[in-house]
């Protein structure tokens, strides 16, 4: 008859199997903990990544848009909501004259349509390669050179046509490169130089879309991005721009980032607190469960001692049981968190209204390892008191108490 040796591990597994309800409860407690640890850590890192990316992406100290369009530009930057608005190109020249301004560059926004004429409804950003200091350094990381006339650079979320083109206003444009995910407006935007933007405007007009009304001047732009000289206060320069240029809104990038950052910090603090409270709660619940269980099993442990088990072996049996339950809970919890967090990352980012960028595989693996270690440790740590207590008990008295 083939039988496995009755090692500590084997005995612990038998004990767990023969008490399915208690075992399931232990596993569920650890699974909830592991789910929270892993899920919330990935969430926090993704939000921080998104925030860092956005900070880098802004690239300018100030953004100037037509009066009343402040929320539109924030919407474009944070949620990639396509929009367009225009003011005179002369604004850029006026801003350049303000004291403290080091560099200015204009951008032109266009939105494609959710119709048969276009591959998708996306935000189109035209930039001036001569003056740009925001888009090109970013694109250069992926593409490595300037965009030619008639070419597009597509964000990571944009689905390309099979022939690596995108159709806008019934014209196909080759996509020179597709950017890596950034969790900002870049992901759902298409970038072109100003010459290509002009041909896009003509194509739009051909399908009946007049983005620029007759009342809007020639050479219209959507925004002016401003870099200020070192030593100048962004708030003061913004005030000066407002004083010198009419009908505009000035957004101080730092203020916007700080606003989001404050919102993010309070969210992260809340998540950390929740994870810490859950860890302590799980340890307390497991500690209580093991204390009750070990008390109930006094006679069983006394029998082990009678048969010659050392005190160390008794501790080993209790710890092994709690460890196995923790391992099962840890694996179930992290797997469930993965199933929830990764496939729904876009949805989570949208719901939070914050830039959300998942970490790289190495970071995910590190977080997974740490979450599993903390989950695996919680059971043995919670049961160590009960294990030590039972191993130190007088066998004869335990046997009598257990009767």
């Amino acid at each position: 008859m083939k039988q496995t040796p009755l090692t500590i591990q084997q005995l612990s597994i038998y004990n767990l199997k023969r008490r399915p309800f208690r075992t399931a409860c232990l596993i569920i407690v650890v699974a909830i903990l592991a789910f929270t640890l892993f899920g919330s850590s990935i969430l926090i890192i993704s939000l921080k990544n998104g925030m860092n990316n956005m900070e880098q992406r802004l690239g300018a100290d100030l953004m100037v848009v037509p009066s009343g369009y402040k929320s539109d530009i924030e919407g474009i930057l944070l949620s990639g909501e396509p929009s367009y608005f225009y003011f005179s190109g002369l604004v850029a020249q006026q801003i350049a004259q303000v004291e403290g301004v080091s560099q200015v560059t204009s951008q032109f926004f266009l939105s494609s349509l959710s119709a048969s004429c276009c591959s998708a409804q996306v935000q189109m950003v035209g930039f001036d390669p001569e003056t740009d200091f925001v888009i090109q350094p970013w694109i250069a990381k992926t593409y490595g050179s300037a965009i030619g006339d008639g070419q597009l650079i597509a964000g990571s979320d944009i689905v390309l046509e099979s022939n690596h083109t995108l159709k806008f206003f019934n014209h196909s444009y080759p996509v020179a490169a597709q950017l890596e995910k950034t969790a900002t407006d870049l992901d759902s935007s298409v970038f072109v130089n100003m010459n290509t933007m002009k041909s896009l405007l003509i194509a739009a007009r051909e399908v009946g879309m007049n983005f620029i009304s007759d009342t809007q001047p020639e050479g219209a732009i959507s925004s002016v991005l401003v870099k200020i000289n070192k030593g100048y206060d962004a708030e003061k320069v913004a005030r000066d721009i407002r004083a010198n240029v009419s009908d505009i809104d000035v957004i101080v990038s730092k203020d916007m980032v700080t606003g989001i950052s404050n919102h993010l910090d309070s969210l992260i603090a809340y998540i950390y607190a929740l994870a810490a409270v859950l860890w302590i709660l799980a340890a307390l619940v497991l500690g209580a469960v093991f204390s009750v269980t070990v008390h109930e099993r006094k006679k069983e442990f006394a029998v082990f001692r009678i048969l010659g088990a050392t005190r160390k072996k008794l501790v080993g049996i209790v710890l092994a049981e709690s460890f196995f339950a923790s391992v099962a809970g840890g694996i179930i919890g992290t797997t469930t968190a993965s199933v929830v967090v990764f496939p729904f990352s876009t949805y989570i980012g949208d719901k939070l209204q914050l830039p959300y960028l998942e970490p790289k595989a190495g970071v995910i693996l590190g977080v997974l390892t740490l979450s599993l270690l903390l989950s695996f440790a919680v059971g043995p740590l919670a049961s160590i008191y009960s294990a030590t207590k039972i191993s130190g008990a007088e066998t004869y008295l335990s046997m009598r108490e257990g009767e």
């Binding site: 039988q3 009755l6 029998v303 009678i306 010659g308 050392t310 009767e403």
Partner: protein, 223 residues
């Protein structure tokens, strides 16, 4: 001499006053002895057995098994001694509910490193105690007498030199008691001494020596 107990004292405290549960007990047991210790409930019989098995620490005195002072051993050695030299059949039901009968019997075999086939040995012991057909059953499916046979088989798995029984027939009917006692009486001839406490006078006939315990004082009776 297999077992030598000298001037053994175990005191318990009740409130501020202490009283001896075992009072200067002396006992010698050889390999082919079947020793019965009788006495009323609370006379200190079980305490004496537990002291001898190393499950309780005495207040004073000495206990030697095969010339070795078991009180001086650390937990590792004391446990090894209990595991390999002493077969203990506790009072009441002591079979582990989570394990099958076979696993219960072979369990003590694995507490320390040993050569041999534990399964084969356990099955042979179940045969000896008359319940080979119950090897794969769980304790809840067994009667009181069958459970006691499992305890005896388990106590014998490591070929102990002394089998200690704490009222092994306490909760059994007359017929099962007789069967169990018959089983116990076979061991001294195989050089496994039996030390058993009981309050059933019928069972003392199976032994060759009788001790009486009264208020912690142990005294040999002439059979």
């Amino acid at each position: 001499m297999l077992l030598e107990v000298k001037d053994l004292v175990k005191e318990y405290k009740r409130g501020d006053t202490s009283f001896p549960a075992v009072n200067n007990a002396n006992l010698s047991v050889s390999h082919n002895d079947f020793v019965s210790v009788i006495g009323r409930s609370g006379s200190g019989k079980s305490t004496l057995l537990n002291l001898i098995a190393g499950l309780l620490k005495p207040t004073s005195g000495s206990i030697e098994i095969e010339g070795r002072d078991i009180l001086s051993l650390n937990d590792e050695y004391a446990s090894f001694y209990r595991n390999s030299k002493i077969g203990y059949v506790p009072q009441g039901q002591s079979v582990l509910a989570n394990l099958t009968v076979l696993d219960n019997v072979r369990l003590p075999f694995y507490f320390f490193k040993r050569e041999g086939d534990a399964v084969k040995k356990a099955l042979s012991l179940l045969e000896q105690v008359g319940i080979p057909h119950l090897a794969q059953s769980y304790p809840k499916q067994l009667s009181g007498g069958e459970l006691r046979r499992v305890s005896i088989a388990r106590a014998l798995i490591n070929d102990p030199t002394i089998l200690i029984g704490d009222e092994p027939t306490g909760d059994l009917d007359a017929q099962t008691t007789a069967e169990i006692m018959k089983l116990f009486s076979q061991f001294p001839s195989k050089r496994t001494a039996v030390l058993m406490v009981t309050h059933e006078l019928d069972t003392v006939d199976y032994g060759n020596r009788i001790f009486k315990m009264d208020s912690g004082i142990l005294a040999e009776q002439i059979k």
